[in-house]
């Protein structure tokens, strides 16, 4: 029992640290990718190639003056970024980061909890994330913040439906909600055991999920809740210092978790081609698999940024049109088609 607790505690600590590390360096990557896509150099003053930039940014956020507006609701004002950060971190719990390690006869799975309703848990936690934005925007007592919060909640609720429906088709195929089982079903691939990643059998579902993930993370082209050109800063207009930092950080953690979920659901998670043909022992395969998973995640984080500097922001009515009139019907059709394939 004690060893079980220690193993889980270590795993939680490691995943927490990795999540924060990846989120911190996403901010750096964001600025670098933006710079390279615009033929610039980007931050390169703090350390070699500017790799200490996230530390400098974090330092700046902590040192800055913390302003809580007089007219705001103090408790909710502090609660908003806390919830945003908390829920962003919680979603990483059910993601299978690797297969299993065997150390001294004991088998350890590289996942904090293997919930049998894993994907449902992710959706539940992401839905709570809206509260952080809503509470923050509401408590600021500022018109721009409120508008941003309203936009955020309307957008996230709308796109959650499309996202959920796109997942149903996938669940109909796999017959399980557990993220680990979904990953195991995609094991193998090219090699002896012919098996495809889910993206091959569910391309439409993948595209819908990807678009909805962009909307859920408030990333361009769906960054209407915080568009600087219209709403000053959106829901975090009144925030300063580390509370603003938490909101921005939560966005990057969400991006990381979304990339992990996309990789797990549609791109085979920690599986990689030829994994059963290498003739290596399980531990080595597991470690390579984890590295491969992080490679996939890194690609999707890059993809998020790549899209940001390619596609301009939608108008709000276009956003709602896309969500309700295109993505949701498309997801429903996708479910029907998947069902038909399941019968025949």
């Amino acid at each position: 029992m004690i060893s079980f607790l220690i193993y889980k505690a270590i795993l939680v600590g490691v995943i927490f640290a990795i999540t924060l590390f990846v989120a911190a360096y996403s901010t750096y990557a964001e600025r670098k990718v933006a710079a390279f896509l615009q033929d610039r150099i980007g931050p390169d003053r703090a350390g070699p190639f500017g790799i200490l930039q996230p530390l400098a940014d974090g330092m700046k956020f902590i040192m800055k003056e913390e302003i809580i507006p007089n007219v705001s609701n103090k408790l909710l004002f502090v609660l908003g970024p806390s919830i945003a950060m908390l829920t962003a971190l919680m979603a990483g719990v059910v993601i299978p980061w690797g297969s299993k390690l065997t150390i001294g006869g004991e088998t350890y799975i590289l996942q904090i909890v293997d919930l049998n309703i894993g994907i449902l848990y992710v959706f539940a936690v992401v839905s709570i994330g809206v509260y952080g934005i809503m509470i923050g925007g509401w408590a600021s007592n500022n018109k721009f913040s409120l508008l941003g919060a309203i936009r955020a909640s309307a957008q996230m609720i709308s796109y959650e439906i499309g996202m959920g429906l796109s997942i149903i088709a996938l669940i109909m195929m796999t017959g399980t909600l557990s993220l680990r089982e979904i990953t195991e079903l995609q094991a193998g691939g090219v090699g002896n055991d012919w098996n495809f990643w889910n993206v091959v059998t569910q391309p439409v579902g993948f595209v819908i999920f990807l678009v909805c993930a962009f909307a859920e993370c408030n990333r361009t082209p769906f960054d209407l809740p915080e568009c600087e050109t219209e709403l000053v800063g959106g829901y975090h207009t009144e925030y300063s210092s580390m509370k603003l930092g938490f909101y921005l950080f939560a966005e990057y953690i969400n991006m990381f978790v979304s990339s992990a979920v996309i990789s797990t659901l549609y791109f085979g998670g920690y599986n990689f081609p030829f994994m059963n043909n290498l003739g290596m022992d399980q531990n080595a395969i597991t470690i390579i698999g984890t590295v491969v998973l992080f490679g996939k995640i890194a690609f999707f984080i890059f993809f998020f940024m790549w899209i940001r500097w390619t596609v301009p922001r939608f108008r709000y009515d276009q956003l709602m049109n896309l969500g309700w009139k295109i993505l949701i019907p498309l997801a429903v059709i996708n479910i029907f088609v998947t069902g038909l394939f399941g019968i025949f």
Binding site: V33, A35, F36, L37, Q38, D39, R40, I41, D44, V207, W306, I307, W309, T310, V311
Partner: protein
């Protein structure tokens, strides 16, 4: 119409392929990814300096003559010529015993150029009858306050032991021009 690049804007119905956005987005991301591998135009300035021309118009210098006396005689032609009105000066009379400091009987006791106003056009250099002011290839450095950008004689006059070479600015055409009797003031 002059450039032949104007396009007539037509608000037409989008076709199905245009309506689903995805092909357009794909072509868009293929354009942006090309820029990822393109070499940027940025120059990392303090470490690496851009190559500049020999007749680059940068920070001014007030020249001294061969004996080390200031050439400027505070005639004010540079201030009159200056389109940005960046130059101010106060003239003073040379005292006895200052012949080694100032070349003529009249000199500038203060001479200030506001580098924030200056547009580095070089008209002051052209106007100067005494070949006293020249623009050099030095770049005016940054500072925190506006006051620091008003350069006085301490920053403008060249030190006796560190002469600043402006012979590059004296191109053959310029020398030819200065040989003309009707323009030569410096005899």
């Amino acid at each position: 119409m002059l450039t032949n690049r104007s396009k007539l804007v037509v608000k037409k119905e989008m076709t199905f392929w245009e309506k689903i956005y995805l092909p357009a987005i794909l072509s868009g991301i293929s354009i942006t990814i090309k820029h990822l591998f393109r070499k940027g135009a940025t120059v990392r300035y303090p470490e690496k300096k851009r190559e500049i021309s020999e007749v680059w118009r940068g920070q001014h210098v007030l020249k001294r003559d061969e004996k080390g006396a200031e050439r400027c005689t505070a005639c004010g032609l540079c201030a009159v010529a200056c389109p940005a009105e960046a130059i101010t000066m106060v003239a003073a009379e040379r005292k006895k015993g200052e012949e080694n400091l100032y070349r003529e009987e009249k000199y500038a006791s203060t001479y200030e150029i506001n580098m924030l106003r200056c547009i580095f056009c070089g008209l002051c250099e052209e106007a100067c009858p005494k070949e006293a002011i020249f623009l050099t290839d030095r770049i005016v450095s940054t500072d925190y306050g506006r006051g620091e950008f008003v350069y006085g004689k301490d920053k403008l006059v060249e030190p006796v032991d560190q002469r600043i070479d402006v012979s590059k600015r004296q191109t053959p055409e310029v020398l030819q021009f200065k040989k003309l009797k009707q323009f030569s003031h410096n005899k």
